[in-house]
Amino acid sequence: MINQKLYLSDKIFKKDIEMKLMRDGFGLGLLEAGEKDPRIVVLSADLKESTKANYFAEKFPERFIEVGVAEQAMVTIASGMANYGKIPFCTSYAIFSPGRNWEQIRTTIAIDSYPVKIIGAQSGLNIGHYGVTHQGLEDIALASVIPNMNVVVPSDFDEARKATLLMAVDNKPYYMRLPRIESPVYTSSETPFKFGKANILTESKNPEVTIIATGLMVYEALMAYKELYKNGIETIVINMHTIKPLDEELIIRNAKLTGAVVSIEEHQVIGGLGSMVSSVLSKNFPVPMEILGVQDRFGQSGTPKELFAEYGLTKEDIIKACKKVIARKNS
């Protein structure tokens, strides 16, 4: 059953669940953060509307800095601003930032741990139509490998808003990835959210498998939970909204509880959430595990639905993986 302590939406499994953009959660959170703290400045690399930095730009034009299509300049200028004492948010698409400006983020932001927040919008296959060149599927790996960097992947509108407000008051560098499409708002403003503390969305007396999901895949995992439940298989669904620092204690505890794990992410499996979870488990408590995600391939054009099916990121893929790990556990 759904974890009652999280105050999740009462429409969580209803057809009329509210659909919203995580980018809007970010944009509105940024506006709120900007109202609270005059040190916040926002940089845009010619994408202020699609990253939703425009809400801030309209209210605080003097603290909004347009750098043009220049992602390397964006983060290095932000480094200088943070060096002076500002809290810069750098807004672009995941493929360009941290994709194109990775070394600059490492050298001029992460080494000295400046509180620059890198926002990678339009990440993942869900951007659909625009195709392979714009589908950031490597950003979690790129950001996570850098020491001092914190990495957050919200799973709905409210979480994106909360994450934005929290990173604004944490004096450290952050990367946050955001998808393009609308997604179900399954949490509420009451749902607890703390970096590094994953949320256990479902509870069970006799769970057989732990599903660890991030971003858009969390709701997909909840759909799989519901169907498996109908078939008599109980699962624990974890929303791993913080990739770094990873909630290792919770991963180990739930692996011990169920003895089998499935991870799912809209990202390359190499260097992503699944590989980090498996690294934690192999050191502490190895269990049968399936890692769902993009299997070392490039994307292409299509609808999000077509692409999720092609790359193995659907409810059905999760169900299949769950049955596979349960069978391995029991063999």
Partner: protein
């Protein structure tokens, strides 16, 4: 700090040059020619131009100096030690384990540095970011950045040139070490930069061309930049790579090579002879 005559500053620059070759000998690695070439600029900046306080390196209204081409840090370190940011004896620990003087500038080990640097093309953007928000907060300090000519090959640098020009960052002064060499050879062979002054003018910068070994010209140019309110200013400092050590001068092979002890003995003799002294070493 007490004021110095130009003659005294020239003497300090010669001491800095001797420090540089001794540091590189001890470290067994480093970039001699760029460091020697910028000794006069750095002495002029730290002794005359910059409004800062070595005893209070985080003073919020200090002038900032960003060293973008971090590989010439031996010169920066030597000058910083002469104005007492840290003890002179640290110089001989350049690049050694746990030294405050890492092989490239590392603010974690030496917090009085403005930035951690080395990877090229970033410093102007960082300085532009500082100058932009300083103006937002109506601060009066100035931001200086030293860049190499070789790093003008980097796209990141030109993105920042456009940004600073667009925003008329008049409190920003860049000094380009125009020594015409980079690792693979002469800049005009590797990737031509000329007409460099015209490039900056077309990006809405003010340009001042100087002899980078003439301390009076360096100081005058920085003062002139202070009086330009319309644009950021680039001071193209013509320097001789390896200045003061004839066997290194203008020689790209000495870009990133440490001298041995015989070469250092020769180099120090040369440096001491720069102003006509004839003492041996």
């Amino acid at each position: 700090m007490k004021t110095h005559t130009i003659d005294e500053l020239q003497d300090i620059a010669q001491e800095v040059r001797q420090d540089i070759v001794k540091m590189l000998l001890k470290a067994g690695a480093g970039h001699p020619v760029g460091s020697l070439g910028m000794a006069d600029v750095l002495v002029a900046l730290y002794y005359t131009v910059l409004r800062n306080d070595p005893k209070n390196p985080t003073w919020e209204d200090r002038d900032r100096l960003i060293l973008s081409c971090g590989h010439i840090c031996p010169a920066l370190y030597a000058v910083m030690s002469h104005v007492s940011y840290f003890e002179h004896k640290n110089l001989l620990k350049l690049g050694s384990f746990k030294s405050i003087l890492q092989g490239h500038p590392d603010k974690r080990f030496l917090p009085s540095l403005e930035t951690t640097s080395g990877p090229l093309g970033c410093g102007l953007a960082q300085a532009s970011g500082i100058a932009y928000v300083a103006r937002l907060d109506q601060k009066r300090f100035r931001t200086f950045v030293i860049t190499s000519d070789g790093e003008h090959d980097e796209g990141n640098h030109w993105e920042a040139v456009a940004f600073a020009g667009k925003n008329n960052l008049s409190s920003l002064t860049m000094i380009v070490d125009r020594n015409n060499i980079q690792i693979d050879g002469f800049t005009e062979d590797v990737m031509p930069l000329e007409p460099l002054a015209d490039k900056y003018k077309s990006f809405h910068w003010s340009v001042i061309d100087i002899d980078g070994h003439n301390i009076k010209e360096i100081v005058d140019a920085c003062n002139k930049a202070r009086a330009i309110y319309e644009n950021p200013t680039v001071i193209i400092a013509r320097t001789i790579p390896g200045k003061g050590v004839p066997f290194m001068e203008n020689n790209p092979n000495w870009h990133a090579k440490a001298p041995n002890s015989d070469e250092v003995r020769e180099a120090i003799k040369n440096i001491r002879n720069m102003k006509g002294a004839i003492e041996d070493y």
